[in-house]
């Protein structure tokens, strides 16, 4: 698949602050690429650079093979930014028509009508945007993003502040864009559950550096290496737990009454631990290989960076 968004060794300094440090990022055609990171990590700056709103201190950025500071390239990019950019005194329909004109779209009003139908806002399209709920505003912003029929969508927290049913609707629209129209999406989000549900690839940025990047499934698999849960027939005593912890390469992530969640290294095998528990009179119900959730991956990486 060809690269749609490409950042190579991007550094960005604003005043004395280094916002991005050697960021490398590739979004391929057909990706829903989740871009994660805590507040102030550099996500919004990256998005601004991708949209041509900011320059880089050094490095190279291309979208669809071209520099986004070229105005024509931005015709192929739809966006939803942190603030929706909608005009409260104008109707939803007029907002879309206005932006459609800026994209040189022939028959902007016809296109605006189609877009409001797509995001299911047709019945409120003639109302002023100032009267819309947050969810409706975000749906309208998404409609604006798809109006120019872009090849790539750059979405900065599109479901932020939206109620759960609104989130589901927005997710469905994004999935339709990918599955039915072959678009590419870069999705910056704090909503890990959302990213896990719809993204195929992710990157995690913290303190201006990409800490992790790749296919979500592979990352989950890699990060789960050695994670197991042992369910027991009776509670494990503190004494046995201490003995388990003293085994080389074993760490206890958490424990509850009848389950031990462990990460084990290469030094010791699962059978050895099972035998140890059985020899101490603990019955084993089952041993489950655990898959790391995105939340666990995120927390681990962010904590590592903090240290």
């Amino acid at each position: 698949m060809p690269d749609i968004i490409n950042l190579e060794h991007v550094f960005k300094r604003i005043g004395r602050r280094e916002i991005l440090k050697d960021v490398n990022l590739t979004v391929k055609q057909g990706d829903i690429f989740g871009y994660l990171g805590p507040n102030g990590a550099g996500k919004t700056t990256t998005i601004r650079i991708i949209l041509g709103l900011m320059g880089v201190t050094s490095g190279r950025v291309t979208v669809l093979g071209q520099d986004t500071r070229i105005n024509k390239v931005r015709r192929k990019i739809g966006f939803v930014l942190e603030t929706d950019g909608l005009y409260d005194n104008m109707s939803g329909y007029d907002n879309l028509a206005y932006y459609a004109q800026l994209y040189d779209i022939p028959q902007p009003r016809v296109k605006a009508e189609k877009a409001v139908r797509l995001v299911e806002l047709a019945d409120r399209a003639k109302d002023k945007v100032g009267t819309y709920s947050k969810g409706m505003r975000q749906r309208l912003a998404l409609a604006r993003a798809i109006i120019p029929d872009p090849d790539v969508l750059v979405l900065d927290e599109p479901t932020s502040g939206v109620d759960p049913s609104g989130q589901i609707e927005i997710r469905q629209i994004m999935l339709n864009m990918i599955n039915n129209e072959g678009k590419t999406i870069l999705l910056s989000s704090h909503n890990l559950d959302e990213v896990q549900r719809i993204c195929n690839r992710i990157a995690l940025i913290n303190k201006g550096q990409i800490r992790l990047s790749g296919e979500l499934e592979k990352l989950q698999h890699d990060m789960s290496r050695g994670a197991i849960m042992i369910q027991t027939t009776e509670p494990v005593s503190d004494l046995i737990l201490t003995e388990m912890k003293n085994q080389p390469g074993v760490s206890v992530r958490y424990q509850n009454e009848r389950a031990l969640n462990l990460v084990i290294g290469k030094e010791v095998g699962v059978p050895h631990l099972v035998n140890l528990l059985v020899s101490r009179g603990v019955g084993i119900e089952q041993v489950i290989k655990q898959e790391a959730s995105l939340e666990e991956i995120y927390t681990t990486i962010v904590k590592e960076a903090e240290q």
Binding site: L53, M54, G55, R74, T83, L86, L102, Y103, D104
Partner: protein, 248 residues
């Protein structure tokens, strides 16, 4: 040009919804009344001195000619202070400017569009009110003394209809530039207030001192100067500057 007009039209429609435009028109009416008072004082003085009809006509012509130069400029600048509160200031406060800059519109198109959005309604209202004020002064106060309508010089008409709109536009481009790059864009509006005060008191002072100035030439000089400044500024305007000076 298309995008410049699209941006300008949207901002003009938004600004025209404001009630302050109509309040400002009333204030301009009050200002006109102060000129009428000055004219009446001048005529009464001449009549007390037993001036001939010819002298009164000449004095009226001179007074109204100056008005024809000054009022369109002064009123247009005055209205600029309202319209300049929309477009950039609101867009930056709501951070809509970021979305606008992410569209295929270039920053120069946005800049010129926003400048036109301030210039066009200001000039239309300013010059419109100035023409009405001129006619009202003539019919209500001048004709009773001169017995005929006093027309200004052709150069004053050219100045009002051509030079003033151009001059307002180049001044507005500079103000809009400043609004785009500073974090408190309202401060830039002070430029309009300063120009307005200079015109208001300057024109009165010139009249009081009996100094004749060639307004058309002054306007042309300022147009050239502001155009050079504006061109220079256009080369230093970047989206990043606009973004970093916006809230948030």
């Amino acid at each position: 040009m298309d995008k410049i007009w699209i941006i300008a039209r949207k901002d003009i429609l938004e600004a025209l919804r404001s009630r302050s435009t109509y309040v400002f028109i009333l204030i301009m009416g009050a200002l006109t009344f102060s000129y009428i008072s000055s004219y009446m004082a001048l005529i009464n003085n001449l009549q007390r001195q037993g001036a001939s009809a010819y002298t009164i006509y000449n004095a009226s012509f001179s007074f109204l000619n100056n008005i024809a130069y000054v009022l369109p400029m002064m009123y247009s600048i005055f209205v600029c202070t309202i319209f300049a509160n929309y477009s950039v200031i609101l867009d930056k406060a709501r951070r809509n400017i970021e979305s606008l800059m992410a569209t295929p519109a270039s920053l120069n198109q946005i800049w010129l569009g926003k400048s036109l959005a301030v210039t066009l309604p200001s000039v239309m209202v300013g010059i419109g009110v100035a023409i009405i004020a001129y006619i009202v002064m003539n019919f209500g106060f001048v004709i009773p003394h001169t017995h005929r309508f006093v027309f200004p010089e052709v150069s004053a008409i050219v100045s009002a209809l051509i030079l003033v709109p151009i001059l307002i536009f180049v001044i507005v481009t500079i103000v809009i530039y400043v609004q785009l790059v500073i974090s408190n864009p309202r401060i830039a509006n002070l430029v309009f207030t300063v120009i307005f005060l200079i015109l208001l008191f300057g024109a009165n002072a010139l009249g009081f001192l009996g100094i004749e100035v060639n307004f058309a030439l002054i306007y042309m000089g300022i147009i050239i100067l502001c155009s050079i400044v504006s061109y220079g500024l256009s080369r230093s305007l970047t989206k990043e500057k606009v973004l970093l000076s916006s809230k948030g």
